[in-house]
């Protein structure tokens, strides 16, 4: 993945709680075997509504999404992260996130910013009041800022996730460097394998 240091841009307030991954990208989009092109499916069940916030011209080109609590719960589909990024989002700010979604985001370089509920509400008010306002998410300093309003909040990322974002590291390459430790573990594992359970045609032996 690409290194991520600072994200700057407009932030769009979603003002909904429990936005599950089925809402982010409906399952009809999951039949595709590619990793690209999911932006068109983002929030597709809501996009027909002209009042939906993503359809408002003042938020066009936003790079930051501000959402309610429990964003990205539900299905493990990484397609949700692909869709958000393909649409143009680089960071999501919310009071809480689904566990698998958070993991998936970290693998793709989508920055997850968890702030206190009242801070998310304050940020929502700021960007609703003036949508063109610049919002900054700084992964190095771990702060979110609205410079013109002198509004600034710190956030946390686990240190490994932060390092990986800043360096653009890919997990698989990092883990393959630990091959010897994995091989040592395997030598002592008592867990069953599938060897001998099924024949060539997959029938149980």
């Amino acid at each position: 993945m690409k290194p991520v240091h600072v994200i700057e841009g407009r932030a769009v307030p979603l003002e909904r709680s429990d936005v599950d991954t089925d809402q982010i990208i409906p399952s009809e989009w999951l039949k595709r075997v590619e990793r690209t092109g999911f932006g068109r499916g983002l929030f597709s069940e809501w996009r027909d509504d002209t009042n939906f916030v993503l359809n408002q011209p003042q938020y066009a080109g936003a790079t930051i999404l501000v959402a309610g609590p429990r964003f990205g719960t539900g299905s493990s589909r990484e397609h949700a992260v692909w869709a958000l990024m393909d649409y143009g989002f680089s960071a999501i700010i919310a009071p809480s996130f689904g566990d698998i979604f958070r993991n998936n985001a970290s693998k793709q370089g989508l920055v997850i910013v968890q702030l206190a509920h009242e801070d998310v509400n304050a940020l929502t008010a700021l960007v609703s009041e003036w949508p063109e306002r610049l919002v900054v998410v700084d992964v190095e300093q771990l702060v979110v800022e609205v410079p013109d309003a002198s509004w600034r909040r710190e956030f946390t990322l686990d240190p490994m996730t932060r390092e990986r974002l800043l360096n653009g590291w890919d997990d698989v390459s990092l883990t393959l460097l630990r091959d010897a430790a994995i091989t040592t573990y395997e030598a002592h594992s008592l867990a069953p394998t599938l060897t001998g359970v099924f024949d060539e045609a997959g029938r149980a032996n």
């Binding site: 003002e15 909904r16 709680s17 429990d18 599950d20 089925d22 809402q23 409906p26 399952s27 009809e28 999951l30 039949k31 595709r32 075997v33 590619e34 990793r35 069940e45 309610g68 609590p69 429990r70 719960t73 539900g74 299905s75 493990s76 990484e78 397609h79 992260v81 689904g98 566990d99 698998i100 979604f101 993991n103 998936n104 693998k107 793709q108 686990d158 240190p159 490994m160 390092e163 997990d171 698989v172 990092l174 883990t175 393959l176 630990r178 994995i182 573990y185 395997e186 594992s189 008592l190 867990a191 069953p192 394998t193 599938l194 359970v197 099924f198 997959g202 029938r203 149980a204 032996n205």
Partner: protein, 467 residues
């Protein structure tokens, strides 16, 4: 320090790193299906990597297989392409695959246990959030995204941070007619969609101990709906009896050795949890969801709630939105709400016991004229077993459709979908907006309630439709 079951599973699988490295968790079994794997296999190819342990990897086609008779081809070209990609990828990387029509094919979380490849003390992952189902066997099982699927294919491990532990203790005894699904819904009512965030749940107490493995799988299946990383149930005689004689389970002395190991996968008596929730099992009644997230649960005897009951603004906003989407009015008795479709199936409730309960209700009557009712067994093995018991005949005689195995109407990725505005009583796990098809309205219920609702045409318990 007395460990919990989760801590024992963690300790048995963790490969500690040096300073600045994440702990790696070794994965004993990786289950693969067509939807979340194609991009992972592409990643392997791009990196010139192999699958580290094909002998710890098992694949099946479930999410977008049609449940029509097998003679009907897959007509959706995009689904067809994805099913073919799975076959090509499994052939290229040497992975055992159960494609559509194979005698071992079925929903990934149904076939793992029934084939005995899900065993206590294991770590199990799959690119599907309902992998939590396998936790019923005292194994640490959780859903992952496609990048993690690629990571497990390549390394057989995952970087992980340790979760917190929560005991969910269900005391007492269930009233007659109350099922495992009602236990799961009562837990959702208590925890909501965020109560489990950051935790691995361990279900325990007399009610859990008395559940069959099928029932325990139903409870563990919905752990993810509370936001939990995984759900666990300690190994006991019920676990061991279920596994004895299954294809992946050893026999003779090797079985006894395995059982000796399995029995250690319980929390120590004086283990402490980071949190505990106690639920009075005797107070659980038949439940259903009224809204658009699985925490919006109400008693079947109850009424549609009002946003005035909300505890905060977010909840009020969510309730108002849900009422609009579901086209419901506060105060309406749930028993008076008519349904268009009944779906009995999914990784939550498509096992033989679920079908037996539903058939017992169906035996007494006929599906209401206005209702389409589908029964979709979780696997070919479940289907064969049900047919051997004559359950298919009961369903067909009562006007239910008896279909081929797959995820079916749980998630609208195959031809089984709701039309906009249709209302469905569904034994699945998610009532999200559009989950079963764009504009569809889902109410989560138990198989008993689903079958009774099919007969009556509006929400009902079996007593109400019994002749």
């Amino acid at each position: 320090m007395s460990p919990t079951l989760y801590e024992k599973l963690w300790d048995a699988h963790v490969i500690e790193g040096e300073a600045g490295q994440s702990p790696l968790l070794y994965i004993d079994l990786h289950l693969v299906h067509e939807v979340t794997s194609p991009q992972a296999f592409d990643g392997l190819r791009l990196g010139g990597r192999r699958v580290r342990r094909p002998d710890r990897t098992l694949a099946t086609a479930d999410h977008n297989v049609p449940t029509d008779p097998l003679s009907v081809p897959v007509t959706d070209p995009i689904s067809k392409r994805q099913l073919e990609a799975l076959e090509e990828n499994c052939a290229e990387f040497g992975i055992t695959l159960f494609p559509r029509g194979h005698e071992n094919q079925g929903i990934v979380h149904v076939i793992g246990p029934e084939l005995g490849v899900t065993q206590p003390g294991m770590t199990i992952v799959c690119g599907d959030s309902h992998t939590s189902t396998h936790g019923a066997f005292g194994s640490l099982a959780f859903g992952i995204g496609t990048s993690e699927v690629e990571h497990v294919l390549a390394t057989q491990t995952l970087p992980q941070q340790k979760a917190k532990t929560m005991a969910v203790t269900v005391t007492g005894q269930l009233a007659p007619g109350v099922t495992a699904k009602d236990v799961a819904l009562s837990i959702m009512k208590r925890l909501g969609t965020g109560g489990g965030l950051g935790y691995v749940l361990e279900y325990r107490g007399e009610v859990i101990s008395a559940l069959s493995m099928e029932g325990r799988m139903t409870v563990c299946n919905m752990s993810i709906e509370a936001g939990a990383r995984a759900g666990l149930i300690a190994v006991d005689e019920t676990t061991i009896d279920y596994l004895r004689g299954r294809p992946g389970v050893p026999e003779g002395e090797a079985f006894d050795d395995a059982v000796g190991r399995w029995r250690t996968f319980v929390s120590d008596a004086d283990a402490t949890f980071d949190a505990e929730v106690v639920i009075d099992g005797s107070a659980i009644v038949p439940f259903l969801t009224w809204g658009t997230n699985p925490g919006q649960v109400v008693a079947l005897d109850g009424v549609v709630p009002s946003p005035d009951e909300a505890l905060d603004d977010d909840q009020r906003e969510a309730m108002t939105r849900a009422l609009t989407y579901m086209d419901l009015t506060p105060g309406t008795k749930l028993r008076d709400v008519p349904v268009d479709v009944v779906f009995i199936g999914s990784c939550t409730n498509s096992r033989i016991e679920d079908l037996r309960v539903a058939a017992e209700v169906a035996r007494d009557g006929h599906v209401a004229p206005s209702v389409r009712a589908l029964v979709v067994p979780g696997s070919h093995r479940v289907k064969s077993q049900a047919e051997a018991e004559g359950l298919d005949q009961i369903f067909v005689a009562a006007g239910f459709e008896w279909r081929e195995p797959g995820c079916s109407m749980c998630l609208g990725m195959n031809p089984d979908t709701l039309r906009p505005g249709q209302r469905c009583a569904s034994t699945s796990n998610r009532n999200f907006e559009g989950r079963q098809g764009r504009g569809g309205r889902t109410h989560l219920v138990s198989p008993a309630v689903a079958a009774a609702t099919a007969l009556k045409g509006s929400f009902a318990t079996p007593e109400e439709v019994r002749a």
